[in-house]
Symmetry: C2
Subunit: 371 residues, 2 copies
């Protein structure tokens, strides 16, 4: 039912095919974020047509709204949102721990829904049950992400808890139409990360999420953790870098050996007016865009760039017309889709290093335009 | 350059072809509202693909934002928003008079921009200059719409002012690539409406807007005014009912002889969750929709109805996902587009009365579901 095949290598960078009953995912892949069963402002058909084979959803959010009953009655999450590609659910642990009224103990997390006020207790077993009922292709273990300010003892404790919960998730998991992936925690401490991985390897997951990065630490430290982990994870396993995926980060992490990415940033910043382009990102709301009869990106051939000018899209943002957010989200995701395609092509051709250098030089040169 | 040809009659209802350099408009037609150069949440391509040949924009709004310079640099309003159908600008008089700090005198209206605080003075001549620079195919005269609570003397004064301004608009208008239409005011007083029309007829406009209706008066009174005016306006002139266009109103006013409609309601209520259907309107946010594995409207074959369920779209609204507003807007406009198509077909076949009766019976039967 599931398979992952490496199809080419270029240094540590690699292309592959991940197969599930929902088709083929060409890796390295980027997964648009559909937290509440919607990639904001875009239809499932558009996301697919933009070249994406996989999306990530949030089990905790979906549990609260629309709730399991409605998803089950719809025939599972794929049918509910008419998505016929791969779907992954993260547990939503990260989101839960950020809530002001959450309490954590060794058995899980207690929290009050910010909307309804009802109290919920999420154990690893409960989380697996929820993720099985939602019905994504891949479900992630409940993990415990330390805070950026935690000391080494606290990080160590979070790793032990993450390992213990991973074991309980693995025992609770029975629905073999889904695949369960583990999550590696340990902050920026390479030894703790290694210890976490070794323990998860004893449980033997087919894929590993690298969690708890890009939460405030310097990017160089994150990249070091990613590189170290990629050298330690057996090459046949899928490596999924969670929550990290701005264009320059993607290129650098593909070079480390990452297969899956997800990140809300490309669409979140799109809604604030930040446009991705091959010459760097910039904010379309900036005054210098107001009279530009140019596409968002002269090198882009997406529907938006073929159809509308910067002057028009800036006007839409300025006039608070939601179409502006929609068009910019579409463009930014198209950009990421094209980036992933170029990455895969260059790995296959053995030209990834050259591509990486040229891409980063050009992309970072104009970052002074960014907001 | 412009022509209007009546192609069939069924009672007072009629079909026609309005021709401009931006193609053919099949009448009776409905114009989606693109106040600030955007039909909210939808692309120009979608609006066209939904079957609409014409849109209405607001000159006052466009003058303030993005401003005439940007529209001119873009090559006019069509190119600015990539709309290749007919475009009409209303002056925006109605919107201006509603602003708290507006002052009206016989020469026009003074107001402060709610955004920038700058003061602007819009005379009839200035308004025509603005509308000519925006470059729509059809431009509307600056008119003066009385308030619903005005007495007969005040309404009479507003009619005199509307006539005087129409004369000045006509004298100022020179750009014969555009067509200038007059606007009939007079509240619900048939004699004042008649007096207004007769005076406008002396100026001789090729089309007439009926303004100042559906602003709070009982619908029966509005319909009486519309019927009376349609009997008085020469049959070769285009008759445009301004700002009125819910489904039942459209059907009743086509029966009176209306050719053009515009209305923000179908998209505005869509954003609040109200869904149009052949069995009446309802609110998709209602609890009874939450588990419905049905399309918005079982009789509709639009993209949204072919793809998504009520359960999913209700969830989107519930989760404040803007995709919900987008999908519901798309559906509601598709509904109106199909309604206009059916209206034209039935007039051509001479079956409009039967269609009207059956449509209204079914559409109004379930209005208990409406919000």
């Amino acid at each position: 039912m599931f398979s992952f095949t490496i199809t080419s290598n270029d240094g540590y960078a690699r292309t592959g095919i991940f197969l599930s009953s929902h088709g083929e995912v060409k890796t390295p892949c980027f997964m648009p974020v559909a937290t509440a069963a919607s990639v904001k402002l875009l239809t499932s058909e558009e996301v697919k047509s933009l070249g994406f084979d996989a999306i990530i959803l949030n089990a905790y959010h979906l549990y609260l709204r629309p709730g399991l009953e409605i998803i089950k009655n719809s025939g599972g999450i794929h049918k509910f949102m008419n998505w016929n590609g791969l779907a992954i659910t993260d547990s939503g642990g990260y989101q839960m721990f950020s809530l002001p009224n959450s309490r954590i103990d060794e058995n899980g997390i207690t929290l009050k829904s910010p909307e309804s006020g009802t109290e919920h207790y999420f154990t690893p077993e409960k989380m697996i049950e929820i993720e099985q009922q939602i019905g994504a292709d891949i479900i992630m273990c409940l993990d415990y992400c330390p805070k950026i300010w935690d000391n080494v003892d606290e990080i160590k404790a979070s790793v032990y808890r993450t390992i213990a919960w991973a074991k309980r998730c693995s025992s609770a998991y029975f629905q073999k139409t889904q695949q369960l992936w583990g999550i590696i925690q340990g902050g920026t401490d390479i030894n703790l990360r290694k210890m976490c991985l070794e323990n998860l390897e004893n449980i033997d997951f087919p894929g590993y999420g690298i969690g708890g990065l890009s939460i405030g630490e310097p990017w160089e430290m994150a990249l070091e953790v990613i590189n170290s982990l990629c050298r330690m994870i057996p090459t046949e396993k899928v490596v999924y870098l969670m929550g990290v995926g701005m264009p320059d980060q993607i290129v650098e992490c593909v070079d480390a050996g990452i297969d899956f990415f997800d990140c809300a940033m490309p669409t979140r910043i799109a809604r604030n007016g930040t446009t991705l382009s091959w010459s760097g990102k910039f904010n379309i709301k900036a005054a210098w865009c107001k009279n530009q009869q140019l596409p968002l990106d002269a090198e882009c051939d997406c529907f938006v760039c073929r159809t509308y000018t910067r002057a028009y899209i800036r006007h839409l943002f300025n006039a608070k017309e939601m179409l502006g957010m929609r068009l910019n989200s579409y463009h930014n995701l198209y950009f990421i889709g094209q980036l992933m395609e170029k990455i895969r092509q260059n790995i296959k051709r053995g030209t990834f290093q050259k591509f990486k250098k040229e891409f980063l030089e050009k992309y970072k040169r104009k970052e002074q335009y960014a907001e």
